[in-house]
């Protein structure tokens, strides 16, 4: 049993904290309304710091770290609301590492780790009942190449990505394609959303994709998607944990400063008990996330644990941010204060890679129901 961080993790944590404090203060607000939605300069810097290679083997330029390392790193990003395509690039890169051919890995991973390639998963098909103007879904083959047409939604930062991970149904079943964003017929439109995450609508209009771009086995696409969603759910849980720790910190600072009825509001039990509940909630989300990351790192079965973490973190995200707003009172509602940024981003993270209900259902299945 060991709940301490390793020496490497302690160094990683303190350097991450320092970097984010110096570089990421106010970044979210600054970046949110830009076209890119992230800072290319900082992206280069985090590549230099090795963040993009945490989970990848040294042969591709990575640092052979573990999922626990990644989770600790992402928690810090969550605290700072560090914006950008980190999680989508990571889970796409991991899919290439796990399912890709040697040539795909060699082509993509080293450059991804250097910060030269951004990746985005385009896996969600639109609900056909909701919109008529989407491109008709079509998969055909010509001379061994695939011709893909269709619309995918909520592809994070697809508009600034270099490669897309696109899923489509072929005659042999679901397949995953690695597609160059510059291919003719690809268009990406960022959707304006509550968390400013640049979730994109991606349209494929008769895009020619060579057979060699298939990732993993044709027909096994569902497994790859499920796996990517697990990694994504874990990463989002960590981001949520970080955000909520920051929300609690801000709320406590406010409660210790703000006076009403001639007293610090933090001395009122009404506020104290809510803060205690927030701390409890965050603690639960954090230990579930760490356990899941540890199991994944140790190659132990972790599907249930990841869903436990994301289910709890998703709901805690909403509960804790709501209390954070209430403790801040009018300040918490104002545009000017950071509280509202966390409140909005928490909702996006709650919904990303499955909300609480979705993950409780996975837990139920894992329990044999």
């Amino acid at each position: 049993m060991d709940f301490d961080y390793s020496e490497f993790q302690s160094i990683l944590l303190s350097s991450t904290k320092n970097f984010l404090e110096k570089e990421a203060k106010g970044l979210f607000r600054e970046i949110e309304n830009t076209e890119e939605g992230y800072s290319p300069q900082l992206w280069e810097k985090i590549a230099e710091l090795g963040w993009l290679g945490v989970l990848f083997p040294a042969e591709y330029g990575g640092i052979d770290g573990s999922f626990v390392d990644m989770v600790l790193l992402i928690e810090e990003m969550g605290k700072a609301l560090f914006p950008g395509p980190f999680v989508p690039t990571m889970i796409s890169g991991l899919a290439i590492l796990k399912y890709g051919q040697a040539s795909q890995k060699e082509e993509i991973l080293p450059r991804m780790i250097e910060g030269k390639l951004i990746l985005s998963p385009c896996l969600a098909e639109p609900d056909h009942a909701l919109n008529e103007s989407i491109i008709e879904e079509k998969v055909s083959t010509r001379n061994g190449d695939y011709i893909l047409s269709g619309t995918r939604l909520f592809a994070p930062y697809a508009h600034v990505s270099d490669r897309l991970i696109y899923s489509a149904d072929t005659v042999q079943g679901k397949a995953i394609f690695l597609v160059d964003t510059k291919s003719p017929g690809v268009s990406c439109n960022p959707l304006d959303s509550i968390g400013g995450d640049k979730a994109c609508e991606v349209n494929f209009n008769a895009v020619e994709v060579p057979e060699s771009s298939v990732l993993g086995e044709t027909g096994k696409g569902e497994d790859i998607i499920a796996q990517m969603n697990e990694w994504g759910a874990l990463a989002e849980s960590a981001y949520i944990v970080g955000m909520l720790e920051q929300v609690l910190k801000m709320s406590l600072e406010h409660a210790k400063e703000r006076e009403q009825f001639g007293k610090k509001i933090g001395s009122f039990q009404a506020i104290q008990h809510q803060c205690a509940n927030m701390a409890m909630d965050i603690d639960q989300a954090k230990s579930l996330t760490h356990e899941a990351a540890w199991k994944l790192s140790e190659n132990l079965p972790s599907t249930k644990e990841i869903s436990m973490a994301k289910a709890w973190a998703s709901d805690a995200a909403r509960r804790v941010c709501l209390m954070g707003v209430k403790i801040h009172g009018g300040t918490g509602v104002s545009e000017e204060h950071d509280m509202q940024l966390y409140f909005r981003k928490a909702k996006a993270s709650e919904l990303a890679h499955g909300d609480g209900d979705r993950h409780r259902e996975i837990v139920a299945r894992q329990l044999g129901l």
């Binding site: 709940f3 210790k256 007293k263 205690a276 509940n277 540890w294 259902e361 044999g368 129901l369």
Partner: protein, 383 residues
Amino acid sequence: MDFRFSPEEEKFKEEVRTFFEREAECVSAAKEEWDSGLGYGPNCWNILQKIGGKGWLCPTWPKKYGGLALSYMYRYIIMEQMQYYLNIYSTVGAGMAGPVILSHGSEEQKDQFLLPIARGEIEFALGYSEPQAGSDLAALMIRAEDRGDHFLINGSKLFNTRAHYAQYHWLGARTELTEPKYKGISLFIVDLKTPGITISPIWTVGKTRTNEVFYDNVKVPKEALVGQKNRGFYYILEALDYERISTVSGIERDFMEILEYVKKTGKGKDPVIRQKIANLAIEIESARLLALRVAWMLNNEKIPNYEAGMLKLLVSETEQNFVNTSMQIFGPYGQIRKGSKWAQLNGKYERNYRDSLESLVTRGTSEIMRNVIATRGLGLPRG
């Protein structure tokens, strides 16, 4: 980061488990007796003495006092198994009175009490609460007057749960009228058969017996005082600190029973029930992780302060939520008591639902725990 027991700890856990499996008959008789709410009877004493004989009631104590000089993780492992098999995870003697005697008691007290505690031969009833002193324990009023060669005790105690079968009262009494109040409290070990003590039952909604204890001119020898006079409140807090380990193995065991029930009855197809079951599994797992962390902290000489408050809060609230949800899963059948053919799982959860209230209010209510977390853990100012 590592969420596993070490190979040695795993081996030990297996040894403890094997012991309980081998003693199955004795174990199930003791559990049934304990679950009746009446406290220890012959079967409980029997199994406690077997556990004590192994050195497992006080595994962290020095060997000369019946312990094994093991680390806290071993105590956690034993408590987990005890709770799983018996629903009894420790004794008051082993968990609270003993450690204070060990650090503050006289040599005579150590010699008289520690070995019998470790061997499971004696038990203590906590003598803290009074009608006007619950969460505000420092307000206790029972008087212990220093009469030179003895103390004379007058007053009453409330909700002293083990008083009808424990041999000794672990009594907090006022030895001085002081301001602040906590500076005039002393701790005593009182033989509950001393003339002048009357114990009368109070029944909880869970049909667990607790007691009122009346002291009417009770003469107690000077040697009954634990540690220094007027330092009792500090010892009381310290004793609470010793008993920080908590486990969820009993809840996990019952959760598996409910899960099987849901599978067998086909209720597992209902999406509402699937959500409820999953949520319980998650909550229980989060409580287990915190329990492990607190045990690990103790094991590594880190002081779990607000974490212990969190653990107490989380485990008791999780238990309550678990039995409440179980009742909901049974639907209207859930209300039917043991004895009817319509009672589900022998009406166990109808009783547990009532009994689960107790852990929400003993050893500090959930609200007191939230105060502790807010002030000690989060640094919020006291009101």
